[in-house]
């Protein structure tokens, strides 16, 4: 049971290392980015409003919903039409006898429009609350996302307009659970961001204070792994090498195989080198 898990872990670690660039290339790329910034480059213009992932999901949803409505519409119309034709046949027959055949034709037309009114409601009922549809997304993955994406300059809400009515329905149940989990996560992330920013700004003691606050409030929080890694790195930055080494050990034993490990090790090494260099 645990052997395949270990195999997986080992394979993923190799993969992680193999799928990035080497340090020289990374440095070169950063230099290129900074040069571009100095040259005034601002990067490609992107859509501002929606996160694209949500957008993609929504697009899929919309297409799904649109498809459902279409099917429901056609289905409902066909059924009603059939019923009416059968009925109408009788009625028409009856009316033919009474000499008013046009009534039957009119009846069909009326029911046709009646079906149209009824159909969206039915479609909405048939729309499952969970858009499991996405599971089958490979049918049109990028192809759907790309047309929706046309960037800021040309705001064409054309594909958006059609299936908009049933939109709120599938959206509401999705938003709620994410939001509730996201609330505490957002707070945790704010605290982490503070710590990270302090570390980046060369204020490791502020970073450590922020991390301590996080540890007190969310001892086993979602970001505990990040916290331990950051703590070790902040201690390194503060020059408290022994405490840093202890924190790093705690981090590794709590999160073996963590992707943050490389950064922690690098920080320890840098700290050690600095000490050698200084003395």
């Amino acid at each position: 049971m645990s052997e395949p898990a270990n195999q997986t872990k080992a394979a993923l670690r190799q993969y992680r290392l193999a799928t990035t660039l080497n340090d020289a290339s990374k440095d070169a790329l950063l230099a290129r980015v900074l040069t571009s910034i100095e040259d005034g480059a601002t990067g490609p213009a992107l859509e501002q409003d929606v996160t694209p992932d949500v957008a993609q999901v929504v697009v899929l949803d919309r297409w799904r919903t649109a498809g459902r409505i279409a099917v429901a519409l056609v289905g409902a119309a066909a059924v009603l039409l059939l019923v009416r034709v059968i009925h109408g046949g009788f009625v028409a027959g009856g009316q033919a006898r009474t000499g008013r055949p046009e009534q039957a034709v009119y009846g069909i037309a009326e029911d046709d429009s009646g079906a149209r009114v009824a159909a969206p409601r039915e479609a909405a009922e048939r729309t499952p609350p969970k858009p499991r549809a996405i599971e089958r997304a490979p049918v049109f993955p990028a192809d759907v996302a790309v047309p929706e994406a046309p960037a800021a300059p040309s705001p064409r809400p054309v594909p958006r307009a059609a299936p908009q009515r049933p939109q709120p329905k599938p959206k509401a149940p999705r938003a709620a659970p994410v939001a509730s989990a996201a609330d505490s996560l957002a707070e945790e992330m704010r605290m982490m961001a503070r710590a990270r920013a302090a570390l980046a700004a060369g204020q490791p003691s502020d970073a450590l204070a922020a991390l301590k606050a996080h540890a007190r409030r969310y001892p086993a929080g979602q970001m505990a792994e990040d916290r331990r890694a950051l703590r070790a790195r902040s201690l390194c930055a503060a020059g408290r090498n022994e405490a840093a080494a202890a924190a790093a050990r705690a981090f590794v034993s709590a999160h073996p195989g963590s992707p943050h490990r490389g950064k922690v090790d690098a920080a320890l090494q840098r700290a050690a080198e600095k000490k050698c260099g200084a003395s």
């Binding site: 394979a11 799928t19 230099a31 980015v33 900074l34 992932d53």
Partner: protein, 198 residues
């Protein structure tokens, strides 16, 4: 310590030294910090989003230009990685519009093409290749969740935020993805060991 020159060379002309970068980045410390902290994640994510090998560096370059432009808008409501994922996704989308249809579809193929360090061992290369193939067995949604969770080490709520899906969806995709991945890996390992099991 004194950096000889604050100007940086074009990377195509020479490989810049770390010290030079440090000198320059003092004017943009935050971007450089984000870069150092997350460059691996961004590179891999770019690959996982299906960018062909030849374009990876260009796309990453553009991603960080956008990061620089938007950095002050980052409000900490999502993790940096979720935020970066959103930017990466959009930049990739932007680039894909530039690719031809066929190439874009090719790029959608699950396998990020190999990009290997010179000093890389054969073993690592093989292991990475195996993982690539196994990742190819997963559905795209499962794959992205699996990759973000088990390769990038993101937490489930973080992934939910990055992808804009429900937490439960993340968990179920992850469960399925892991199962499929482990099965695929076990099958390959058996085959590699010359087992007769097919």
């Amino acid at each position: 310590m004194g950096a000889p020159e604050a100007r940086i060379h074009r990377p195509s002309e020479s490989t810049p030294h770390r010290r030079q970068i440090r000198a320059v980045t003092s004017s943009a410390p935050i971007l450089a910090d984000v870069y150092r902290e997350h460059i691996d994640f961004v590179i891999r994510t770019t690959r996982h989003l299906g960018v062909p090998e030849s374009s990876v560096e260009d796309v990453v370059h553009d991603i960080f230009l956008v990061v620089h432009r938007r950095l002050e808008d980052y409000d900490g409501r999502s993790t940096m990685r979720s935020w970066l994922y959103g930017i990466a996704r959009r930049v990739v989308l932007h680039h894909k519009r530039g690719f031809s249809r066929a190439r874009a579809r090719e790029a959608q193929a699950p396998v990020p093409p190999p990009q290997l360090d010179a000093e890389e061992t054969v073993a690592r290369r093989q292991a990475a290749e195996t993982v690539r193939n196994c990742l190819g067995m997963l559905d795209p949604e499962q794959r992205m969740v699996f990759v973000l969770a088990d390769i990038e080490g993101m937490s489930a709520p973080e992934i939910a935020q990055a992808l804009g899906v429900k937490l439960n969806t993340v968990y179920s995709r992850l469960r399925l993805g892991r199962k499929k991945f482990e099965r695929a890996l076990a099958r390959r390992n058996q085959a590699d060991q010359g087992g007769t099991v097919r």
